[in-house]
Symmetry: C2
Subunit: 195 residues, 2 copies
Protein backbone atom coordinates (compact mmCIF):
# COMPACT_ATOMS: atom_id res chain seq x y z
CA UNK A 1 0.00 0.00 0.00
CA UNK A 2 2.83 2.38 0.91
CA UNK A 3 4.69 1.46 -2.23
CA UNK A 4 1.48 1.95 -4.27
CA UNK A 5 1.22 5.56 -3.09
CA UNK A 6 4.89 5.98 -3.96
CA UNK A 7 4.55 4.48 -7.45
CA UNK A 8 1.45 6.53 -8.23
CA UNK A 9 3.23 9.70 -7.20
CA UNK A 10 6.43 8.92 -9.18
CA UNK A 11 4.44 7.92 -12.27
CA UNK A 12 2.99 11.42 -12.47
CA UNK A 13 6.51 12.30 -13.68
CA UNK A 14 7.79 9.15 -15.39
CA UNK A 15 6.51 5.63 -16.25
CA UNK A 16 8.11 2.50 -14.81
CA UNK A 17 7.66 -1.14 -15.86
CA UNK A 18 6.91 -3.44 -12.89
CA UNK A 19 10.46 -4.74 -13.02
CA UNK A 20 11.93 -1.22 -13.13
CA UNK A 21 9.79 -0.08 -10.21
CA UNK A 22 10.79 -3.14 -8.19
CA UNK A 23 14.47 -2.31 -8.81
CA UNK A 24 13.93 1.41 -8.03
CA UNK A 25 11.88 0.92 -4.87
CA UNK A 26 14.18 -1.79 -3.48
CA UNK A 27 16.56 1.04 -2.50
CA UNK A 28 13.97 2.63 -0.19
CA UNK A 29 13.43 1.50 3.39
CA UNK A 30 10.04 1.75 5.08
CA UNK A 31 10.24 3.56 8.43
CA UNK A 32 7.61 4.37 11.09
CA UNK A 33 8.00 7.50 13.20
CA UNK A 34 5.85 8.07 16.29
CA UNK A 35 4.14 11.41 16.99
CA UNK A 36 6.62 14.00 18.37
CA UNK A 37 9.63 11.83 17.44
CA UNK A 38 12.46 13.63 15.67
CA UNK A 39 13.58 12.46 12.24
CA UNK A 40 16.45 14.98 12.33
CA UNK A 41 17.96 17.33 14.90
CA UNK A 42 20.04 20.44 14.30
CA UNK A 43 23.75 19.56 14.15
CA UNK A 44 23.27 15.99 12.90
CA UNK A 45 24.24 14.99 9.35
CA UNK A 46 21.03 14.28 7.45
CA UNK A 47 21.52 10.74 6.06
CA UNK A 48 18.16 10.38 4.29
CA UNK A 49 15.80 11.75 1.73
CA UNK A 50 12.27 10.63 2.64
CA UNK A 51 9.00 10.23 0.78
CA UNK A 52 6.06 10.58 3.18
CA UNK A 53 3.46 7.80 2.76
CA UNK A 54 1.38 8.70 5.82
CA UNK A 55 1.16 11.32 8.57
CA UNK A 56 2.82 14.71 8.57
CA UNK A 57 6.20 16.28 9.45
CA UNK A 58 7.18 19.79 10.48
CA UNK A 59 10.60 21.22 9.54
CA UNK A 60 11.68 24.16 11.72
CA UNK A 61 14.63 26.16 12.98
CA UNK A 62 15.09 27.41 16.55
CA UNK A 63 15.94 31.08 16.93
CA UNK A 64 18.15 32.50 19.67
CA UNK A 65 15.24 32.84 22.11
CA UNK A 66 14.34 29.16 21.65
CA UNK A 67 11.24 29.91 19.59
CA UNK A 68 10.66 27.73 16.56
CA UNK A 69 10.21 29.10 13.05
CA UNK A 70 8.38 26.64 10.82
CA UNK A 71 9.88 26.36 7.31
CA UNK A 72 7.91 23.45 5.79
CA UNK A 73 5.14 20.97 6.40
CA UNK A 74 5.39 17.58 4.61
CA UNK A 75 2.36 15.31 4.44
CA UNK A 76 1.55 12.25 2.29
CA UNK A 77 3.13 12.49 -1.17
CA UNK A 78 5.81 15.04 -0.22
CA UNK A 79 9.54 14.67 0.28
CA UNK A 80 11.33 15.52 3.51
CA UNK A 81 15.05 16.11 4.07
CA UNK A 82 17.58 18.83 4.91
CA UNK A 83 18.84 18.99 1.32
CA UNK A 84 22.02 20.96 2.06
CA UNK A 85 23.01 18.61 4.89
CA UNK A 86 22.06 15.49 2.85
CA UNK A 87 23.83 16.59 -0.35
CA UNK A 88 26.94 18.12 1.18
CA UNK A 89 27.25 16.03 4.39
CA UNK A 90 27.11 19.22 6.49
CA UNK A 91 25.55 19.50 9.97
CA UNK A 92 21.80 20.16 9.66
CA UNK A 93 20.46 23.61 10.51
CA UNK A 94 16.92 22.27 10.79
CA UNK A 95 14.81 20.05 13.02
CA UNK A 96 12.30 17.61 11.49
CA UNK A 97 9.58 16.28 13.79
CA UNK A 98 6.55 14.01 13.24
CA UNK A 99 3.33 15.91 14.00
CA UNK A 100 1.43 12.61 14.27
CA UNK A 101 2.24 8.89 13.87
CA UNK A 102 3.81 8.84 10.41
CA UNK A 103 5.42 6.55 7.85
CA UNK A 104 7.92 7.21 5.13
CA UNK A 105 10.27 5.60 2.61
CA UNK A 106 13.90 6.57 3.14
CA UNK A 107 16.87 6.44 0.79
CA UNK A 108 20.51 7.13 1.68
CA UNK A 109 22.86 9.34 -0.34
CA UNK A 110 24.98 6.33 -1.36
CA UNK A 111 21.96 4.35 -2.57
CA UNK A 112 20.66 7.36 -4.48
CA UNK A 113 24.00 7.63 -6.29
CA UNK A 114 23.89 3.87 -7.01
CA UNK A 115 20.39 4.26 -8.44
CA UNK A 116 21.51 7.12 -10.71
CA UNK A 117 24.35 4.95 -12.02
CA UNK A 118 22.07 1.92 -12.54
CA UNK A 119 18.98 3.59 -13.95
CA UNK A 120 19.17 6.64 -16.22
CA UNK A 121 15.40 7.02 -15.75
CA UNK A 122 15.88 7.82 -12.06
CA UNK A 123 18.25 10.68 -12.88
CA UNK A 124 15.50 12.11 -15.11
CA UNK A 125 12.91 11.52 -12.36
CA UNK A 126 14.91 13.47 -9.77
CA UNK A 127 15.68 16.20 -12.32
CA UNK A 128 11.93 16.65 -12.82
CA UNK A 129 11.14 16.44 -9.08
CA UNK A 130 13.81 19.07 -8.30
CA UNK A 131 12.43 21.30 -11.05
CA UNK A 132 8.90 21.06 -9.63
CA UNK A 133 10.17 21.80 -6.13
CA UNK A 134 12.04 24.83 -7.52
CA UNK A 135 8.86 26.15 -9.14
CA UNK A 136 6.99 25.67 -5.85
CA UNK A 137 9.68 27.57 -3.88
CA UNK A 138 9.75 30.33 -6.52
CA UNK A 139 6.01 30.70 -6.11
CA UNK A 140 6.33 30.81 -2.34
CA UNK A 141 8.93 33.61 -2.60
CA UNK A 142 6.61 35.38 -5.05
CA UNK A 143 3.65 35.05 -2.63
CA UNK A 144 5.72 36.33 0.30
CA UNK A 145 6.59 39.39 -1.77
CA UNK A 146 3.25 40.00 -3.43
CA UNK A 147 0.38 38.84 -1.24
CA UNK A 148 -1.02 40.27 1.99
CA UNK A 149 -0.95 38.13 5.14
CA UNK A 150 -4.66 37.36 4.71
CA UNK A 151 -4.18 36.29 1.08
CA UNK A 152 -1.30 34.01 2.09
CA UNK A 153 -3.41 32.51 4.87
CA UNK A 154 -6.26 31.83 2.42
CA UNK A 155 -3.90 30.41 -0.22
CA UNK A 156 -2.45 27.94 2.29
CA UNK A 157 -5.74 26.82 3.83
CA UNK A 158 -7.42 26.44 0.42
CA UNK A 159 -4.46 24.66 -1.25
CA UNK A 160 -3.62 22.35 1.67
CA UNK A 161 -6.86 21.97 3.69
CA UNK A 162 -5.80 18.59 5.12
CA UNK A 163 -2.49 19.96 6.41
CA UNK A 164 -4.07 23.20 7.66
CA UNK A 165 -6.50 21.22 9.86
CA UNK A 166 -3.57 19.64 11.74
CA UNK A 167 -1.90 22.93 12.66
CA UNK A 168 -2.16 25.19 15.68
CA UNK A 169 -2.50 28.95 15.05
CA UNK A 170 1.07 29.35 16.30
CA UNK A 171 2.50 26.81 13.81
CA UNK A 172 0.60 28.24 10.85
CA UNK A 173 1.51 31.83 11.81
CA UNK A 174 5.17 30.86 12.10
CA UNK A 175 5.12 29.27 8.61
CA UNK A 176 3.38 32.29 7.07
CA UNK A 177 5.72 34.73 8.86
CA UNK A 178 2.92 36.55 10.71
CA UNK A 179 1.85 36.76 14.37
CA UNK A 180 -0.57 34.17 15.75
CA UNK A 181 -2.79 36.99 16.97
CA UNK A 182 -3.17 37.99 13.32
CA UNK A 183 -4.08 34.39 12.34
CA UNK A 184 -6.76 34.40 15.09
CA UNK A 185 -8.08 37.72 13.76
CA UNK A 186 -8.26 36.41 10.15
CA UNK A 187 -10.02 33.25 11.35
CA UNK A 188 -12.57 35.36 13.28
CA UNK A 189 -13.21 37.65 10.26
CA UNK A 190 -13.74 34.62 8.00
CA UNK A 191 -16.07 32.95 10.54
CA UNK A 192 -17.95 36.29 10.83
CA UNK A 193 -18.39 36.56 7.05
CA UNK A 194 -19.85 33.05 6.88
CA UNK A 195 -22.60 33.75 9.48
Amino acid sequence: MHFDIFRQSMERHIRFTDEEFRQFSSYFKRVKVAKKEFLLKEGQICRFEGFVTGGCFRTFVLNEDGFEKVLYFSSQGWWVTDLDSFTNSKPATQWIQAMEDSELLLISKEDKERLFAEMHKVEKLFRIISQKALIALNQRIWRNHSLTAKERYLHFTETYPEVAKKLTNVQLASYLGITHEFVSKIRKTIAGNRE
Copy 2:
Protein backbone atom coordinates in the same frame (compact mmCIF):
# COMPACT_ATOMS: atom_id res chain seq x y z
CA MET B 1 35.26 33.89 -24.16
CA HIS B 2 31.54 33.64 -23.34
CA PHE B 3 31.60 29.91 -23.91
CA ASP B 4 34.74 29.65 -21.70
CA ILE B 5 32.85 31.19 -18.76
CA PHE B 6 30.01 28.78 -19.48
CA ARG B 7 32.26 25.70 -19.66
CA GLN B 8 34.11 26.65 -16.48
CA SER B 9 30.83 27.05 -14.64
CA MET B 10 29.32 23.78 -15.91
CA GLU B 11 32.52 21.86 -15.13
CA ARG B 12 32.14 22.72 -11.47
CA HIS B 13 29.36 20.12 -11.60
CA ILE B 14 30.39 17.70 -14.36
CA ARG B 15 33.36 17.13 -16.75
CA PHE B 16 32.98 17.34 -20.52
CA THR B 17 35.40 16.23 -23.24
CA ASP B 18 35.99 18.95 -25.87
CA GLU B 19 33.73 17.09 -28.29
CA GLU B 20 30.97 16.69 -25.71
CA PHE B 21 31.12 20.35 -24.76
CA ARG B 22 30.97 21.35 -28.44
CA GLN B 23 27.85 19.22 -28.88
CA PHE B 24 26.28 20.53 -25.63
CA SER B 25 27.00 24.23 -26.24
CA SER B 26 25.88 24.11 -29.90
CA TYR B 27 22.30 24.18 -28.56
CA PHE B 28 22.83 27.57 -26.89
CA LYS B 29 22.49 30.88 -28.76
CA ARG B 30 24.49 33.94 -27.79
CA VAL B 31 22.26 36.98 -27.26
CA LYS B 32 23.04 40.62 -26.38
CA VAL B 33 20.52 42.63 -24.39
CA ALA B 34 20.85 46.41 -24.01
CA LYS B 35 20.44 48.16 -20.65
CA LYS B 36 16.74 48.50 -19.68
CA GLU B 37 15.66 46.08 -22.43
CA PHE B 38 13.17 43.41 -21.35
CA LEU B 39 14.07 39.75 -21.77
CA LEU B 40 10.55 38.78 -20.64
CA LYS B 41 7.31 40.60 -19.88
CA GLU B 42 4.40 39.44 -17.73
CA GLY B 43 1.86 37.54 -19.83
CA GLN B 44 4.37 36.26 -22.42
CA ILE B 45 5.33 32.58 -22.58
CA CYS B 46 8.97 32.30 -21.48
CA ARG B 47 10.70 30.49 -24.37
CA PHE B 48 14.22 30.42 -22.93
CA GLU B 49 16.44 29.39 -20.10
CA GLY B 50 19.48 31.69 -20.05
CA PHE B 51 23.01 31.50 -18.64
CA VAL B 52 24.35 35.02 -17.98
CA THR B 53 27.87 35.55 -19.36
CA GLY B 54 28.01 39.29 -18.70
CA GLY B 55 25.98 42.09 -17.14
CA CYS B 56 23.07 41.69 -14.74
CA PHE B 57 19.31 41.07 -14.86
CA ARG B 58 16.52 41.91 -12.44
CA THR B 59 13.42 39.69 -12.15
CA PHE B 60 10.41 41.39 -10.62
CA VAL B 61 6.63 41.38 -10.31
CA LEU B 62 4.38 44.44 -10.45
CA ASN B 63 1.85 44.76 -7.64
CA GLU B 64 -1.59 46.33 -8.02
CA ASP B 65 -0.27 49.85 -7.37
CA GLY B 66 2.31 49.48 -10.15
CA PHE B 67 5.23 49.16 -7.73
CA GLU B 68 7.81 46.52 -8.54
CA LYS B 69 8.83 43.79 -6.11
CA VAL B 70 12.27 42.40 -6.95
CA LEU B 71 12.46 38.58 -6.69
CA TYR B 72 15.95 37.85 -8.08
CA PHE B 73 19.12 39.38 -9.44
CA SER B 74 21.12 37.33 -11.98
CA SER B 75 24.67 38.32 -12.83
CA GLN B 76 27.52 36.48 -14.59
CA GLY B 77 27.41 32.74 -13.94
CA TRP B 78 23.75 32.62 -12.94
CA TRP B 79 20.70 31.30 -14.78
CA VAL B 80 17.68 33.42 -15.65
CA THR B 81 14.18 32.26 -16.66
CA ASP B 82 10.58 32.13 -15.44
CA LEU B 83 10.81 28.41 -14.71
CA ASP B 84 7.06 27.80 -14.36
CA SER B 85 6.30 29.59 -17.63
CA PHE B 86 9.24 27.89 -19.42
CA THR B 87 8.48 24.37 -18.15
CA ASN B 88 4.69 24.45 -18.40
CA SER B 89 4.24 26.93 -21.31
CA LYS B 90 2.13 29.19 -19.07
CA PRO B 91 1.99 33.01 -19.30
CA ALA B 92 4.83 34.52 -17.26
CA THR B 93 4.00 36.24 -13.96
CA GLN B 94 7.38 37.96 -13.93
CA TRP B 95 9.29 40.67 -15.77
CA ILE B 96 13.00 40.22 -16.54
CA GLN B 97 14.98 43.37 -17.41
CA ALA B 98 18.67 44.02 -18.13
CA MET B 99 20.11 46.39 -15.50
CA GLU B 100 23.09 47.13 -17.79
CA ASP B 101 24.28 46.00 -21.24
CA SER B 102 24.31 42.24 -20.83
CA GLU B 103 24.99 38.98 -22.67
CA LEU B 104 23.66 35.51 -22.21
CA LEU B 105 23.43 32.05 -23.75
CA LEU B 106 19.85 30.94 -24.38
CA ILE B 107 18.38 27.49 -24.89
CA SER B 108 14.78 26.69 -25.88
CA LYS B 109 12.59 24.06 -24.19
CA GLU B 110 12.63 21.86 -27.32
CA ASP B 111 16.43 21.98 -27.60
CA LYS B 112 16.78 21.21 -23.90
CA GLU B 113 14.61 18.10 -24.34
CA ARG B 114 16.70 17.13 -27.41
CA LEU B 115 19.88 17.51 -25.36
CA PHE B 116 18.50 15.31 -22.56
CA ALA B 117 17.67 12.62 -25.14
CA GLU B 118 21.11 12.87 -26.81
CA MET B 119 23.37 13.24 -23.78
CA HIS B 120 22.64 11.47 -20.49
CA LYS B 121 25.33 13.66 -18.91
CA VAL B 122 23.22 16.77 -19.48
CA GLU B 123 20.30 15.27 -17.58
CA LYS B 124 22.70 14.73 -14.66
CA LEU B 125 24.04 18.27 -15.04
CA PHE B 126 20.60 19.86 -14.83
CA ARG B 127 19.63 17.55 -11.94
CA ILE B 128 22.65 18.86 -10.03
CA ILE B 129 22.02 22.51 -11.03
CA SER B 130 18.36 22.25 -9.93
CA GLN B 131 19.45 20.70 -6.63
CA LYS B 132 21.90 23.54 -5.97
CA ALA B 133 19.24 26.12 -6.82
CA LEU B 134 16.85 24.36 -4.42
CA ILE B 135 19.41 24.52 -1.62
CA ALA B 136 19.93 28.25 -2.32
CA LEU B 137 16.18 28.95 -2.22
CA ASN B 138 15.81 26.88 0.97
CA GLN B 139 18.53 29.00 2.53
CA ARG B 140 16.82 32.20 1.40
CA ILE B 141 13.53 31.06 3.00
CA TRP B 142 15.48 30.16 6.14
CA ARG B 143 17.14 33.62 6.20
CA ASN B 144 13.80 35.38 5.70
CA HIS B 145 12.43 33.49 8.70
CA SER B 146 15.45 33.64 10.95
CA LEU B 147 17.51 36.77 10.33
CA THR B 148 16.82 40.41 11.14
CA ALA B 149 16.57 42.93 8.30
CA LYS B 150 20.08 44.17 9.11
CA GLU B 151 21.52 40.64 9.09
CA ARG B 152 19.88 39.95 5.70
CA TYR B 153 21.26 43.21 4.33
CA LEU B 154 24.77 42.29 5.52
CA HIS B 155 24.49 38.73 4.18
CA PHE B 156 23.53 40.01 0.72
CA THR B 157 26.14 42.76 0.46
CA GLU B 158 28.91 40.49 1.78
CA THR B 159 27.97 37.46 -0.38
CA TYR B 160 27.30 39.40 -3.59
CA PRO B 161 29.34 42.62 -3.33
CA GLU B 162 29.52 43.06 -7.14
CA VAL B 163 25.75 42.81 -7.53
CA ALA B 164 25.06 44.99 -4.47
CA LYS B 165 27.13 47.82 -5.99
CA LYS B 166 24.80 47.97 -9.00
CA LEU B 167 21.60 48.36 -6.98
CA THR B 168 19.66 51.38 -5.81
CA ASN B 169 18.43 51.38 -2.19
CA VAL B 170 14.90 50.88 -3.52
CA GLN B 171 15.84 47.76 -5.53
CA LEU B 172 17.79 46.19 -2.68
CA ALA B 173 15.05 46.99 -0.15
CA SER B 174 12.43 45.44 -2.44
CA TYR B 175 14.49 42.24 -2.78
CA LEU B 176 15.07 42.01 0.98
CA GLY B 177 11.41 42.76 1.74
CA ILE B 178 12.14 45.87 3.83
CA THR B 179 11.56 49.62 3.31
CA HIS B 180 14.19 51.66 1.48
CA GLU B 181 14.24 54.08 4.43
CA PHE B 182 15.42 51.14 6.53
CA VAL B 183 18.18 50.31 4.00
CA SER B 184 19.34 53.97 4.17
CA LYS B 185 19.34 53.75 7.97
CA ILE B 186 21.41 50.52 7.96
CA ARG B 187 23.86 52.06 5.46
CA LYS B 188 24.25 55.16 7.69
CA THR B 189 24.80 53.04 10.83
CA ILE B 190 27.45 50.97 9.04
CA ALA B 191 29.17 54.11 7.66
CA GLY B 192 29.04 55.60 11.20
CA ASN B 193 30.67 52.52 12.74
CA ARG B 194 33.52 52.70 10.24
CA GLU B 195 34.47 56.29 11.09
